[in-house]
């Protein structure tokens, strides 16, 4: 066993883990944050995407011990517990960008990362290319693409509103 200290959703966490423990196992089993899902064992499906230091990472492909000192954001931490939803969450709901919901946390966090890298004005082609690492079996992607475009736009207006305050 080995110790690792990191921040998860803003809270400091120290865990004693088997060295082969993956980040997704740390989140799901040690911290009981079960919103991060495992859809494959080959880093193909993206259901397990979380943000590590602000960047999208497949948590099934990272050892927990690699995360010493890192800041991890999982779906549970995207919006404040009692606050409003994050604009990207709201956009997925409004645009019916989910059906069974299993790929959704990974999709939403990937979408937030796309906006970070590509900005708030996203065309369909860009979104589809950027979703290369995320599989959805239910929606045919049509409404996910719509949701991400809408969520990206809403993130600008959210930022503008915050700046104006």
């Amino acid at each position: 066993m080995a110790a690792v200290s990191l921040k998860v959703n803003g809270k400091s966490v120290t865990a004693d883990v088997d060295p082969r423990t993956l980040l997704v196992q740390l989140l799901r089993e040690n911290l009981r944050l079960t919103g991060t899902h495992v859809g494959c064992d080959t880093s193909q499906c993206g259901a397990c995407v979380v943000l590590v230091n602000g960047k999208a990472v497949k948590s099934c492909t990272v050892l927990a011990l690699q995360l010493e000192g890192a800041e991890v954001l999982s779906i549970e931490g995207l919006a404040p517990a009692d606050g409003p939803l994050h604009p990207m969450q709201e956009a997925f709901r409004e645009n019916h960008g989910l059906q069974c919901g299993y790929c959704t946390p990974g999709m939403i966090l990937t979408a937030v990362d796309i906006v970070r890298r590509k900005g708030n004005d996203l065309d369909d082609k860009t979104i589809r290319e950027e979703l290369e690492g995320n599989i959805c079996r239910c929606t045919g992607y049509h409404n996910i693409v719509k949701a991400i475009a809408a969520g990206a736009r809403a993130m600008t207006s959210g930022a503008a509103a915050n700046a104006a305050e």
Binding site: C40, G101, D124, Y141
Partner: protein, 789 residues
């Protein structure tokens, strides 16, 4: 239409928990003291199991038990079953071979579980499994269904000589022969309907907990039909009586058919939880899902269509070999028979149809229902024949279809079904307009100038849904009734719980069922909760598959609401001191016709429970009603999908540049959700047509055993979809619903292939039409360069 009633695009009630990471999927649930199961699986497609030495494994750290098929047999755990009896043309019953949850004596496909390790952690169970020594005697394997029946092929099950499960026929052989004799043209096609792996993104999982105090089991599992799972595990496998077995299917991450079935792993988890006296959790990894989740399709077909000079269809003759894999599964016998051959009439007036189906065992994983289940295979046969026949006869494919459309309803086909309602030309016409069919020639010329081959493909499909009238199902060999149940519980404060036997795993029932209640009773949807997926809460139900939840599950809800409304009106008569016939319910108020006297819904609910205003001897207190709804007919959703593609002749890569879907689903409860079902279904059909294929090598090794080898459609493989509807009401159920869950996957594969073959000018291409397949077809046909045309 109210803002939350029938027809409104209400945003989904269930979404909040999914977008915030608060869903409860099976693997999210843990029990105190739970252990973990890891299955050791056969690496061989066909091998005797000479011995299993588990001694070293059982001494590994954390190991509680290593269990094998011998112990399963000793404990008299029964065989897994197929629940639909098909008789061969000679009258003999299908040859259902034993299917033990752990292979005993012989393994029959790669992935067949031979032992299970139960340990404190999953890592310990995996480590220990590596120490289990299995001595296999490798046998020759048979993989190709077309070769399975030949003399000298390896024999898989003693009960099934020549690996033949059944040889079944439907239709009039002599009449069909006569139709072919009178034909001036016969179109012939050889078709392989490619084998698919469903790949719901949530892997299957089971958490089993045996309580020795009450001698009762609880099973959380990824099921589309938990009551059926309980019935089979109880009545056939003999794990426990139904009253001592609770099955809970919580949030389930997609199913597409693959989670209908009762699988070895959940049976073993239950059995092991009693043996080790601790809860046992098993979660499939994706590699296991590829090997052992029931696959779909896998037909080898020769089909012929007889026509007259004007392009009228005279008859259809089809011979199909269906690969059911190494073991039969719950519905696997029905898929290539009553869910396939009965749909071969398509949307067309076809006087004579004869179809022969041979179902065979091979040393591959089980094949059963996958989204569409038989109907995509039928639609592919019919719609490819139509297109090729039109091209051979020089008739426009649109006109060819119109010429043969069924126009008068009800219409009895030569293959069981009586279509009750439809307007096939209406959906075709609308789709042609939306797709700008008239402008296609210009778009093709423009594409050619850019060095691209442009093609357009039509699919006018029909399916049979709303499974199904129980007597009809019984007469065709089905082992269960196909009704659905619903219980409506009104609470004293007026809030409502709907307990349905339907099960949602992405379909949005928590919203749409609440819309039906809101529409009927005038209550806000927020005060309606939908309860499903727990055998301790819902008395019984048949679950969700075959696009049946709207047509059958909601019909049961309507029947229960009829009773609720009738009872509530009785309560209201006492409150309003009026005759029952004068009371009407509108917008959540009971009022006396022609007066201003009224009482709100919540007031009636409260009084139903306080029972202060009526004598309990005359009217029972409480407000709770149940209905079991048995459909009177199948439903027949139909429509038209049009696919437009551009092929790059240099590389064979194909882009779908436009997709138009116009479907007739009868009455639509929530158009947003229905459109989502079409998007998803079409994407899966595009997957079948262009990228997905389960490939076994000649030794029975699955070559496409991961998401790196098996191509699931990603966002840039599919286009944005243009989706619309037409409407003929379904006459057989109270809401007029036909069902929409499978239509996309049924309609789309022939639309894609018709478009690609139109583009490349040769019919010689099989699914999946990958870039290399398209490129090879172009090279072979000599049409590789559009400029030369």
């Amino acid at each position: 239409m109210s803002a939350t009633g029938i027809g409104a695009a209400v945003r989904r009630k269930e979404d909040h928990r999914f977008i915030t990471g608060k869903g409860h999927y099976t693997d999210d649930i843990s029990r105190p003291g739970q252990t973990y199961a890891y299955f050791l699986r056969s690496p061989h497609a066909h091998a005797t199991i000479k011995s299993i030495d588990a001694k070293a494994a059982s001494l590994m750290p954390g190991v509680l038990a290593v269990l094998t098929g011998a112990e399963l047999a000793a404990d008299k755990i029964g065989s897994l079953i197929c629940g639909w009896m098909i008789h061969s043309k000679d009258g003999s019953p299908m040859k259902m071979a034993p299917h033990p949850a752990l292979a005993h004596g012989k393994a029959n496909h790669v992935g067949d579980p031979v032992a299970v390790v139960i340990a404190e952690t999953l890592a310990q169970a995996r480590d220990a499994a590596e120490k289990v020594k299995v001595d296999y005697g490798v046998l020759p394997a048979i993989v190709d269904p077309a070769q399975a029946q030949r003399q000298g092929a390896p024999q898989i099950h003693e009960i099934a000589p020549n690996n033949t499960i059944y040889q079944w026929t439907i239709g009039d052989a002599n009449g069909t022969d006569a139709a072919f004799k009178s034909a001036t043209h016969v179109t012939k096609l050889d078709i392989v309907n490619n084998r698919l792996i469903p790949n719901a993104i949530e892997p299957r999982a089971a958490l089993a907990d045996y309580d020795s105090g009450t001698e009762a089991f609880t099973l959380w599992n990824t099921s589309q039909n938990p009551h059926v799972a309980r019935l089979v595990i109880s009545a056939f496998i003999g794990m426990a009586p139904e009253n001592k077995l609770r099955v809970i299917a919580p949030d389930v991450g997609g199913g597409f058919g693959s989670k209908i079935f009762i699988y070895p792993e959940e049976v073993v988890a239950l059995w092991a939880s009693k043996k080790v006296g601790r809860p046992v959790k098993w979660v499939s990894d994706r590699s296991e899902a590829f090997l052992v989740d029931a696959h779909g399709r896998d037909h080898v077909t020769h089909a012929e269509m007889a026509l007259d000079t004007a392009g009228k269809i005279l008859g259809l003759r089809v011979k199909t070999i269906a690969n059911l894999g190494a073991y039969m599964q719950v519905f696997s016998s029905a898929v290539p028979t009553y869910l396939y051959a009965t749909l071969l009439s398509g949307q067309y007036q076809i006087p004579q149809i004869f179809c022969e189906v041979d179902a065979v065992y091979t040393n591959t994983n089980s094949v059963d229902a996958y989204r569409g289940a038989g109907r995509p295979e039928a639609t592919f046969v019919v719609e490819r024949l139509m297109e090729v026949a039109a091209r051979e006869l020089g008739i426009d494919p649109v006109e060819m279809r119109r010429k043969n459309f069924i126009k008068i309803f009800p219409h009895q086909t030569p293959v069981v079904f009586a279509y009750d309602a439809g307007d096939y030309d209406a959906s075709l016409k609308k789709a042609l307009e939306l797709a700008d069919y008239k402008g296609f020639a210009k778009r093709k010329r423009d594409a050619a100038r850019n060095g691209k081959l442009r093609g357009i493909g039509i699919s006018t499909y029909i399916e049979a849904c709303g499974l199904a009238p129980s007597q009809a199902v019984g007469s065709l060999g089905g082992g269960v009734g196909q009704w659905e149940s619903c219980e409506v519980r009104v609470n004293p404060t007026g809030s409502i719980e709907v307990l349905t036997g339907s099960h949602a795993h992405g379909q949005g029932h928590e919203t749409t069922f609440a819309q039906v209640v809101s529409d009927r009773l005038g209550v806000p949807i927020e005060s309606v909760s939908i309860v499903h997926g727990d055998t301790d809460k819902v008395q019984f139900g048949m679950g969700t598959y075959g696009s049946r939840s709207g047509a059958v599950g909601m019909s049961a809800l309507v029947k229960a609401l009829d009773k609720i409304e009738a009872k509530a009106k009785k309560v209201a008569t006492y409150l309003l001191e009026a005759a029952e016939t004068d009371i009407e319910l509108k917008n959540g108020q009971f009022s006396v016709t022609g007066t201003d006297k009224s009482v709100p819904w919540a007031g009636v609910a409260l009084n139903a429970y306080t029972a202060h205003k009526f004598p309990g001897q005359e009217l029972e207190p409480g407000l709770k009603e149940t209905s079991f709804y048995d459909p009177t007919n199948f439903t027949f959703p139909a429509g038209c999908h049009i696919c437009e593609v551009e092929v790059d002749p240099e590389t064979g890569s194909t882009e779908i540049v436009a997709w138009t879907a116009v479907d007739d689903f009868g009455v639509v409860i929530n158009p947003m959700i229905v459109e989502g079902q079409i998007h998803g279904g079409v994407a899966q059909g595009i997957g079948q047509a262009m990228c997905e294929a389960a490939v076994y090598d000649k030794d029975g090794q699955l070559v496409t055993g991961s998401l790196m080898d098996y191509c699931l459609p990603r966002a840039d493989h599919v286009p944005a979809f243009k989706v619309d509807t037409t409407m003929t009401r379904c006459p057989s159920n109270p809401l007029g619903i036909k069902g929409c869950g499978e239509a996309g996957a049924i309609a789309s594969p022939p639309a894609v292939i018709n478009a690609i073959t139109d583009a490349i000018g040769t019919e010689a291409i099989a699914m999946p039409a990958t870039p290399s397949a398209v490129w090879a077809a172009l090279q072979k046909s000599g049409r590789a360069m559009p400029h030369a045309a």
